[in-house]
């Protein structure tokens, strides 16, 4: 794992008992993980356990630690990879504390990182309605069942609120749609079994 000088410097501060004893180190590590996971905008550095630490150093350490966490998750780093990065300055206790937090939050962070990036709108649900069309202004005696399908989609390119894709279909068209979705589901099942 390649880390910039600034990140390495920040991690050295964090390893230094002059700035962080083991207890504040533990509190700080948890704050760093939480600041990445939580949806709140503030980073939690106002934690009472951290109030005695110089703010400049605290912020430097926070940036360094969060960068290190993200880089480790991104690379899917295991204990030996993390240890080899930290062992120059960190004692074993601190590596253990960090690693246990890392293990605890890794899955959540992976999900978070996985979802970053552009992808087509994601279908989350479907609503349907069955109508029987009797007549309209142009044709009488239509007498055809008709479905209104409404797909709920999220994460549109605009990043706006959830939207819908609405369309009509006849019974035959709905059978066609379901048939094609079933083909896809069958192929998925085969792919997971092989």
């Amino acid at each position: 794992m390649e880390l910039s000088e600034s990140v390495q410097k920040g991690l050295q501060y964090l390893a230094d008992p002059v700035h962080f004893d083991l207890k504040t180190f533990t509190a700080f590590t948890e704050v760093a993980f939480q600041s990445l996971i939580s949806s709140r905008s503030e980073c939690g550095l106002d934690d009472p356990q951290l109030k005695d630490i110089d703010q400049t150093i605290l912020k430097h350490c926070h940036i360094a630690t969060t960068t290190f966490i993200l880089e480790s998750v991104k690379q899917n780093a295991d204990k030996s990879a993390i240890s080899s990065c930290l062992e120059d300055s960190f004692d074993t206790d601190r590596i253990d504390v960090f690693y246990s937090s890392y293990q605890h939050h890794k899955r959540t962070l992976e999900n978070l990182l996985e979802s970053i990036g552009r992808s087509p709108p994601h279908i989350t649900d479907v609503l349907w309605r069955l109508d029987y069309c009797i007549k309209n202004s142009h044709v009488h005696k239509v007498n055809q069942p008709s479905y209104l399908i409404s797909l709920h989609v999220e994460n549109d390119d605009s990043g706006g609120p959830p939207k819908e894709v609405n369309f009509n279909c006849t019974m035959e068209q709905l059978q066609d749609l379901v048939g094609k979705m079933k083909d896809a589901a069958k192929s998925l099942e085969k792919a997971t079994q092989s």
Binding site: I116, I123, V126, H138, H140, L151
Partner: protein
Amino acid sequence: MLLVLSDEHKEHLGFLHEVDPSVVGEFGRIAVEFLRKGSNPKIYEGAARKLNVSADTVQHGVEGLIYLLTESSKLMISELDFQDSVLVLGFPAELNEVLLQLYLDNRKEIRHILSQLAPTLPQYHNLEWRLDVQLASRTLRQQVKPTVTLKLHLDDSGTQSARVLQTDPATLLHLIAELERALAEAKTNHCRRIMRNIK
């Protein structure tokens, strides 16, 4: 159900009485063609020159036919009702037969054309799908994330459009189950009873 023809409409159609039934057949063909592709006034002028009448007269004749055909098709009137409806025009039997044949031959297509005018949401046309497994991205390496990409083709009054959407395997199964419930609903007693009784 009989068609009620206005006096103006009768007057316009009256012109058909003055020409040969084969010309009426030709006008009928033009009327259906205009319904398919929109009208073309040049044809009126050409026909008017040949028949030695004004272009307006030809136009009224053809448009009268178009209106006769669309109204009867819209109401889906029976063969007998159609015959009775055109009786008021006082045409000879041969001409009435030409009109009836024109109606019967084109009713299905005209109803199809008219049904496209009805207010509706985009109509389902086709679905294409693709399976992917996301393996890595800038922010995260070593992933295994199956995704289903769906391309939904819709038809909005003749204009085709496509939306590319994505979903995950679990949601796909949910969608299938929900839409199968929708299909099953049409076979329930309630729905069948309504559909059988509204005719």
